[in-house]
Amino acid sequence: MNSSGVKLSDEKESLIYNPKIRSIFFQILALVIVFGSLILLRHNTLVNLEDRGKSLGFHFLGETSGFSILPTFGTWVVGYEVGVSTYVDVFIIGILNTLAVGLFGIIAATLLGFTIGIFRLSNNFILRSFAATFVEIFRNIPLLLWLFIVYFAVLRNLPAKREALFFTENIGINITGLYAPAPQPLEGFLYVLIALIVGMVGCIFFIKWSTRRFLITGKKFPGGWLGLILLICLPLAIYYILGQPLNWEDPIFKSDGPVFRRGYQAGMGMMIVPEMIAVWAALSLYTAAFIAEIVRSGILAISYGQTEASFALGLRPGTTLRLVIIPQAMRVIVPPLTSQYLNLLKNSSLAVAIAYPELVSVFGGTALNQVGKEVEMIFMLMLVYLSFSIITSIFMNWFNSKIKLVER
């Protein structure tokens, strides 16, 4: 600023001290190290594989697999058939089975976790101690043990294969699974699905519209109800207009014939194997205990003044909880809730212990053992879990930003 001489001498030293050049230098250095390591890793991999007479490549994915897989959601969707289906199918089955148990697990764990978490803060002594016991028991015993406990409890208490406990005429359960009528979409069912989606969009729209109107004019309008009617009635109407394009295939139970043919008949109706029920139940219970604690701490994080203020306005305890406390607590709850969801998804890979064919078990285990492509298969597994995590995080971040406190 004052003398150009000083500036000049600065520029002379600038090669080392100039922050810009320095930062470029370090960035290039980092890049070289990263790429260098990658090249080294690649080289090592190829050399090591060659030593064992192995090669890299994904050709194995097109080969047919020779093992059968327990009938589950994934095998049903893919239509798995030994000798015809390939390792790609096995991969997809694994993903679907992981997602199935993950999704239902997340739903159940959330419902249960919120309930228990709220119970823990209840004024009712019995509810409070029940919730505390639940949390302590499920949180402090390892998940793998829970899997075994639940699985063998399920097996020991269900009727044997050639008997069954019938809930209704066509819904029953025994040690081989829970059986119910299976939906079989016929031609035209697509339109029912479209109507369902239209109904859903309409429902959301109505709720938004009516709350906005309520905020502006103060007039209540049963937008929620109207939306709900739209959601249910529209698809139902289409369903009947098109002549009920959905067939229900009943399970069949036989008590005579060759010994091994007695009991529920393979391939008829919908079957949910006890392995899936046990994995789902164990994951849900275990994760619910953690969610309950998150919910409790979230609620406790809201200052008691909020409750007092709400009571002073004449709101009842239930309404206070629903309209004042929970919406604020959600901000504290959602971020750790996201990691619980991710944990649940990843923990589902313990299911191999009790024969549930999820991704790590059926692809990273059974299939890996048959083809021995560790590098490729672990890479694929990592990609899948990474995508699960990223998708869950994106969704939860979106949800988080929706419920964020709007600052005025």
Partner: protein
């Protein structure tokens, strides 16, 4: 996360990060023991006794390798592995030798990058059902639920067998044998299938072993033997010849009891085996009295068989196909010369 995934990941990491695995013998000598992969508990083959000591036919093979290298039956550490984990544990360098009722198949020998160093038990796959079912043949099993271990040849064979015979079935595949037994015992499955030797061992764990029958069908060939990684011929040779020495010793009538007196034998074949003639051990990179030590401390193949799985053990397995070739069996070792 999940051991199996970790094993896979370790194997993958092992493959991408470390240098080559050649020189297993040098590694073993410098660490002072052999790391041996065994089952998680298969009585007679690899099982921990009440005091926590590993025993069994497969275990003694590992001990014999340790004796050959160090002259010490205890210079060996055991890694219990499920059938699913075993190959990745071997590929990744976690273990030096896999001796765990493992079937020699072409895929494993070629695509998995492994080498089978011989066969220490000739077996075949069998099926077990509760006696009360009243079935007497595998062909009556249409519609059965079947329990077994995942990551095995068993899974593939049973699938082939049912498909070939046009029978329907559901396969419930567990990672660990204990769960297979428990689930079968609880009635989840009508059939328990695995190697016949495995059936003989695992049925001992059932709540009522005598109320189950093994069906007559043998639906596959299961040559079980020790396995090493490809790419290290010296180590491969050591394991291979440890087994051969035990079989040759039986054929020559050399036992742990008489090996010292046999040391003075004039028979050149005996002299070569016991290291009083030639330099067979030195050529392998181990001591020249390697085979003497094995026989002295462990015994010959027949002794190991009788002690662990033979008719006088709970498994009650007759020698059958595992008798020496001179007795009408399949056990045959190339000569030491």
């Amino acid at each position: 996360m999940k051991k199996s995934f970790i094993f896979g990941a370790i194997a993958a990491l092992g493959l991408i990060s470390t240098g080559a695995f050649a020189g297993t013998l040098d590694d073993i000598k410098s660490k002072g023991f052999v790391q041996c992969g065994v089952s998680q508990g298969l009585p007679g083959f690899s099982n921990q006794d009440d005091s926590g000591k590993w025993t069994g036919l497969d275990v003694e093979l590992c001990r014999a390798v340790a004796v050959a290298v160090f002259g010490d039956t205890n210079a060996v550490k055991f890694s219990p592995l499920s059938s699913k984990q075993r190959f990745t544990a071997l590929s990744s360098g976690e273990i030096d030798i896999l001796s765990r009722n493992t079937t020699w198949t072409m895929t494993r020998d070629t695509q998995l990058g492994l080498n089978f160093a011989g066969v220490n038990y000739y077996d075949g796959q069998g099926m077990m059902v509760p006696a009360g079912m009243g079935v007497s043949s595998g062909t009556e099993l249409d519609g059965a639920n079947i329990c077994t271990n995942t990551g095995t040849t068993t899974e593939l064979n049973i699938t082939d067998y049912f498909r070939f015979n046009n029978m329907g079935f559901n396969l419930v595949a567990f990672e660990k044998a204990d769960e297979v037994v428990a689930a079968y015992d609880a009635g989840r499955c009508d059939v328990y299938t695995t190697d016949r030797s495995g059936l003989a061992a695992q049925r001992l764990k059932l709540s009522n072993p005598d109320s189950h029958v093994v069906l007559p069908e043998i639906i596959s060939k299961e040559p079980l033997g020790p396995v090493v990684r490809q790419g290290d011929d010296q180590w491969f040779n050591i394991v291979k010849w440890v087994h051969n020495a035990m079989v040759n010793a039986e054929e020559m009538g050399i036992t742990s009891a008489n090996v010292d007196s046999k040391k003075g034998s004039d028979n050149p074949a005996v002299k070569r085996l016991l290291g009083t003639e030639g330099s067979f051990g030195d050529e392998l990179g181990i001591s020249n009295d390697w085979a003497y030590n094995i026989i002295k401390h462990i015994g010959n193949y027949g002794e190991s068989y009788e002690r662990n799985v033979g008719p006088n053990t709970p498994l009650k397995l007759a020698r059958g196909a595992n008798a020496l070739w001179t007795n009408g069996g399949l056990m045959y070792a190339p000569p030491i010369r």
